[in-house]
Each structure stands twice: as C-alpha cells, then as structure tokens.
C-alpha cells in the first residue's frame, strides 16, 4: 500500500551528452586473425603456388627446371598411374565403410549405454594415438604375419578361401595383399570415425527416443527413423575424416602391402623422393586433390548436410 502511494522517482535526465568514445576494439578481431593467416600463407598458400608452378615445369635435376606451361605432365601422370588412383579410392572407400560398421555400434554404446564406463572407453579409443602411427602399422605386420595365429585362424575357418576368391588375399597370405592394406587403414583411421559419431549421437535428446516409442515405433524403427537420421552430421564428418586422409595415405600400403597394392600416395612419394621427377609428383598431388574435392562435394550434396560445411 505504502509503495503504491509513493510516486515512482522521476526519470532524471542523464548527464549532458558526451562525445561517443572512440571505438578502440575495432581492429582487435583482425589482430587476432593475423597469426593464423600468416601461418596459412607461409605453410599452405605459398607451398601450393610453388607446387603448382613445379607441376608445369620441364627440365632435369642437372640442368634445373623452368616453367614451360607443360600441362601434358598431367595427362601423362594420370594415364600412367590411373590404376593406383582407382586403388586408392577403392581401398579408402572400403576402409571407410568398415570404420563406419565398426565405429557406429561402438559410438552408440559409448553415447547411450556406457554409463560410468563412458570415459574409460573414450580413453581406450584415443589411446592408440599415444603411440606412433608407424609403430602401430608395423605391429599389424606382426599380427598378420605369415603362419601367425590370425592367418592360421582365418585359414582354418576357410575365410581365406572366400577372400582369396574375391581377390583380397592370395594363397595362405594376408600380408602384402589388399586385405592387409584395408585392415591397416581401417585400424589407423577408426578413431576419426568414432569421435564425430559419438559427438553427434551424444547430442541427441533421449526424450526423442521416448517420444518415438510413445508414437508406436518399435526399437528398430526408432533407430531407423530417429537416431540414425539425427546422427547424419556425425556420419558425414566421420566418413570424410576417414576417407580423405585414407585416400592419400602411403604408410599402410608400403608397410602392409606389396608392389601390386600401391596407392597413389606411394607413387607421389617415390616420384618426389626416389625418381626425383618433381613435375609428375606435383601434378599427381593436384589431381588427387581435385579428385577428392569432387568426390566430397558430390557426397555432401547427396547426403543433404550442406549446413555442415
């Protein structure tokens, strides 16, 4: 009552208009961007330009190289090494599919069922990164060694007969076959699949599952109609993070494969470091980059997750 009778304090006019203070923070965002931009210019843009010019040079190591706009290098490189290109895409795609099949259930488990084990399983997923990529790949050489327990088991179970018939293995060997390379790629890139899948699954509101169940969807339908569609961003980023580096990889093919399983990464590596044919190596690199870009663009369009990039 008392508060009601009291008149509200009149709005006192504010102090006389002051000059608006100079905006000091205007340049701050640009200063903060600077280190990153410099880094990109020095270590990404400059090498790209340098490689682009290398790819259209002619000459030899002794006489030096000159830019002669020799675009034929591209044609020659592709027509000579297209089998390795195709192999790279096939191996990387197989490894990506395997990663998805192995990684999705695991990510699902961690996101929805792991409970207090969640952190432990996450650490186990990331733990391989504590060891060098090379050592891990070399370990697979031991695992898949001729006459080793894995090959023995696969042989007893007649799995090698099937894979041999498919052309993935040859005879009693797993090592030095496409299967070994794909296994190595799958193993090495699996965490890159699991982490984005986990992130997008974990974000799904559990009540959506309840709502779908309430609306007559049985558990398998809930997964098909709600969980999986909502995890699509994770599926897309996971497959990209696996497929892109796997396509350009050469370590797995050189350690676990043979001359017949060479990927485009192996060709580029040997052109640069052994044959010393820099223009061809540079041209191959650009073709690979363009091919990956084209495939990824197509994939993202198809999967309808443009908002991801």
């Amino acid at each position: 009552m008392s508060t009601f009778t009291e008149a509200p304090p009149p709005l006192t006019p504010t102090a006389p208009e002051q000059k608006p203070p100079r905006k000091r923070g205007r340049w701050t965002p640009y200063w903060l961007l600077l280190p990153g931009i410099l880094w990109l210019v020095v270590f990404f843009a400059a090498p790209m330009v340098y490689q682009a010019s290398t790819s259209v040079q002619t000459g030899s190591l002794e006489e030096g190289y000159k830019v002669t706009w020799h675009f034929v290098t591209y044609w020659d490189a592709v027509s000579e090494y297209w089998p390795q290109f195709l192999r790279s895409v096939a191996y990387a795609a197989s490894a990506t599919v395997l990663c998805l099949l192995l990684g999705y259930p695991l990510a699902y488990l961690i996101a929805f069922r792991a409970g207090r084990w969640r952190n432990l399983i996450m650490i186990l997923v990331i733990a391989p990164f504590f060891t060098s990529f090379l050592i891990r790949t070399l370990a697979w050489k031991t695992i898949l060694a001729d006459g080793g327990p894995v090959v023995g088991a696969l042989n007893t179970l007649h799995v090698l007969d099937v894979t041999g018939w498919l052309g993935w293995t040859s005879g009693d060997r797993v090592l030095a076959t496409p299967l070994a390379v794909v296994c190595g790629l799958t193993y090495n890139f699996l965490p890159f699949m699991i982490l984005p899948l986990y992130t997008s699954l974990e974000r799904i509101d559990g009540r959506l599952h309840e709502a779908a169940g309430d609306l007559y969807a049985k558990p398998s339908t809930v997964f098909r109609k709600v969980t999986f569609p909502l995890s699509m961003p994770g599926v897309v980023s996971g497959t990209l993070l696996t497929f892109i580096p796997a396509t350009g990889d050469y370590v797995n093919a050189s350690l676990l494969g043979s001359a017949d399983t060479g990927m485009i990464g192996n060709v580029i590596q040997s052109q640069f470091l052994r044959v010393l044919d820099y223009p061809t190596a540079a041209a191959l690199s650009f073709v690979l980059m363009a091919a990956i870009l084209a495939m990824v663009t197509f994939y993202i369009r198809k999967s309808g997750t443009e908002d991801l990039v």
Binding site: M1, R207, E210, D214, Y216, L230
Partner: protein, 391 residues
C-alpha cells in the same frame, strides 16, 4: 473432426476406457517415488495430477505411458491389462514436457509419425484436419525450430492426438510458456478435449491450471494422493492441511472443540467462539478435542472496530490489528495480527474501500459459519505452504 469425435465416443462406450491404476508403486533403491496408489480416471474426463516437483506425479504418468516400469501394481486401460506392454504397444500417447518434437522432420511429418508407424498409408487428410484443429495448417512444411513455443506445443498435442489414443497424457505441457500464452493454451486444450472427447491426464504443479482445466484433480504429495475431487470441492472442502495450503491460501486456526449444537460444532480459539458445520469437519469433533479451523481469505469481511456493532449476529468473529496491506488492483490483501492466528490473510474486493483500514487499525474479521471447515489437528499446520508458493 465431427466424424472422429463420434468414432471415439463409440469406441469408448464399447470397450470402457477408464484408466485404472491398482496398487501401482515405484521405488528407486530405497526411495519410494510413488506409494501404492489406486486411481481410476473415468473415460472422457479431463483429469489433473497436481503436486509440487518430486511428488511422484510425473512418475505416475510415465507408468501409464509405459516409459517407466512400475515396481508393483497394475495399469488397466478399459479391460486391458497394459502393465507389461512396452510403450509402442500401448494405445496411449504423451505430450512431453519439452515437446520432444523430431528436429529432422517438418511439422507435417512430425504429426504423421504415429500414423505411419502403424502402417497407415494415406495420412494426408487426417494430418490436414489435425493441423487445422490446432490452427497450424500454414506451418506444415516448417521445421520445429522455426516455430514459437506455443506453436511447438500445439504440434506436440496434434502429434499425439492424431492417433486417437484411449488416453492422452500431458506432462507439464505448458511449463515452458509465458503466463499469457499459458492461459490461452489452457483454454485451447480444454476446447480440444471437449471436441475430441478423449481422456486427458494432465500433470502440473500449477494449481490454477489444474483447477481451470480439469474435471477431476488428484492432489499428490510425497508419492501419495492427498485428496481427489472436483476443483471446487477440493478448494471448498480440503481434508488435509496440505490441500488447504497448496490449493490457494487458507487461514488455519488451532482450536478446541467446545460443544456440538445440532449439526454445528462450536469451538474455542484464543477466547473467541467459532461455529462450523459438522459436515465440513473432517476431524472427530469430541468435546475437548483439538481441531484446526480453516477459512479462505476471500470469504472474510473486514470491519473497523468502531463499527463492530453493525456486524450481523450469527457470524464467526475474530478481532485483530492490521499488520500489512497490499493493493493489487481488483482486491486488497490484508494481513491481520490476531490472537488466534498471527498472520490472518483477508482478500477484500475493492468495491468501497474504507480508508480507516490501514496498518495499525483495530478490526473485526467476520465470516459465515458455513464457510468454515475443520481439519484434524494432528497434522503439520504449514504442510503445503512452501510447495504452494514455489508452484
């Protein structure tokens, strides 16, 4: 919608669509969320489960939906025992607290979800009708995040109702809306319920919401139903202090039974004699026994002590001094300090305001004995006060 309405009513009459909970209970470890509970929700009624957070109302609702497995007891829908059925096999749909709309589907597909899961191919007509019922025909192709809270709420209702469930469960469906929209949606939901004739079970902590919308209200407290009845009956005849304090405000006075005269009980409270109808006294009224005498603040008239002679005979009277007043437009709320009750609340309509009724004034509070109720004194006099304020 008219054809659907008749269809539903027909389905209702042949199966018998009551929701019957028999001895249903839920425990989590050593904590009992819901004590064994028997409850029948009549077919076609708008039923509210009202209580403060943590009273077990949502758990009860989730057990009807099948989202929570009861620790004991059974759930019947009509003649069918659904206790063991998973949610997707129950003819029950839920409007979730946060709506839980599918963010990857547009409004149309959200609403069509249940029909499609039951293998119904041509959903266009039904979805169109349902969207019209909730006035969202224009928004069919929008995604949920493009709609306002109120619109999302209506989609959630439409998505559940389109399946013509035997029971529609609403879990605090209006909790996220602002006050004005909430009032509007309360009327809207009531309209829809009347139109489709489906049983609604509505969980809420808002007593006004429950009273506005429901035909029957069950007031829950600490996993038990305190009292069940029509809103006006609950309000006028609370049987426990919790209900008296949680539903609106009550002035409770500790008193001693003096005599019984005919149908009335005469009690003494701090020297004043009060009369209440025996029928409204839920405590045993033995001479010398203790009772809590209650009266709602709006039933009381306030007269300045100087005019005490003008008060008609036969009314209950208590004298006191005004401690505080607050003017809230349609009414003025007074807090009066009396010997029998230190903070007696009185709401007076602002028809003719007596300027003498200011803090410090000596006053007489008087009300009709018929507006007085009696409660068992062996309860916490303040039960439900804090919960009522929080809600």
């Amino acid at each position: 919608m008219t054809t659907n309405t008749t269809k539903n009513q027909k389905a209702a009459t042949d199966g018998g669509g009551d929701v019957r909970l028999a001895g249903i209970t839920k425990t989590y470890g050593s904590f009992t969320a819901v004590h064994p509970l028997d409850l029948t929700v009549p077919q076609g009624s708008f039923f509210a489960l009202l209580g403060a957070s943590g009273c077990g109302k949502t758990t009860t609702l989730r057990m009807i939906a099948g989202l929570e497995e009861p620790s004991g007891g059974t759930v019947h829908l009509g003649d069918q025992d659904v206790t063991a059925l998973p949610p997707y096999k129950r003819p029950v749909n839920t409007v979730f607290q946060s709506y839980a709309l599918f963010p990857h589907l547009d409004i149309y597909e959200n609403v069509a979800f249940g029909l499609r899961r039951r293998g119904i191919k041509s959903v266009k007509k039904q979805v169109g009708e349902m969207l019209d019922l909730v006035q969202l025909g224009e928004q069919a192709r929008k995604k949920p995040h493009q709609l306002s809270g109120g619109q999302q709420q209506r989609v959630a209702v439409a998505r559940a109702l389109i399946n013509h469930p035997k029971v529609l469960l609403l879990d605090e469906p209006l909790g996220a809306l602002d006050l004005k929209l909430r009032r509007q949606m309360q009327l809207e939901l009531k309209r829809i319920q009347t139109e489709v004739g489906i049983t609604f079970v509505h969980v809420t902590h808002d007593q006004e919401e429950a009273m506005t919308m429901a035909d029957q209200v069950a007031v829950m407290n600490a996993g038990r139903v305190e009292q069940l009845g029509a809103p006006a009956d609950l309000y006028e005849n609370p049987r426990t202090t919790f209900v008296a304090n949680f539903l609106g405000t009550s002035n409770l006075i500790e008193a001693e039974v003096d005599t019984r005269s005919g149908d009335d009980v005469v009690v003494k409270a701090a020297g004043d004699k009060l009369v209440l109808p025996g029928a409204r006294c839920s405590a045993p009224a033995k001479a010398g026994g203790k009772v809590l005498v209650g009266v709602r603040p709006e039933k009381i008239s306030l007269t300045h002590a100087d005019d005490a002679g003008a008060i008609p005979e036969g009314r209950n009277r208590i004298t006191g001094r005004i401690a505080n007043t607050s003017f809230i437009g349609v009414s003025t709320q007074y807090v009066v300090d009396c010997a029998a009750c230190p903070e007696f609340e009185v709401y007076a309509q602002n028809i003719d305001r007596d300027p003498r009724l200011a803090p410090g004034a000596e006053v007489v509070l008087h009300w009709s004995p018929a507006h007085t109720f009696g409660l068992d004194a062996a309860q916490d006099i303040d039960a439900g006060v804090a919960e009522g304020e929080a809600a």
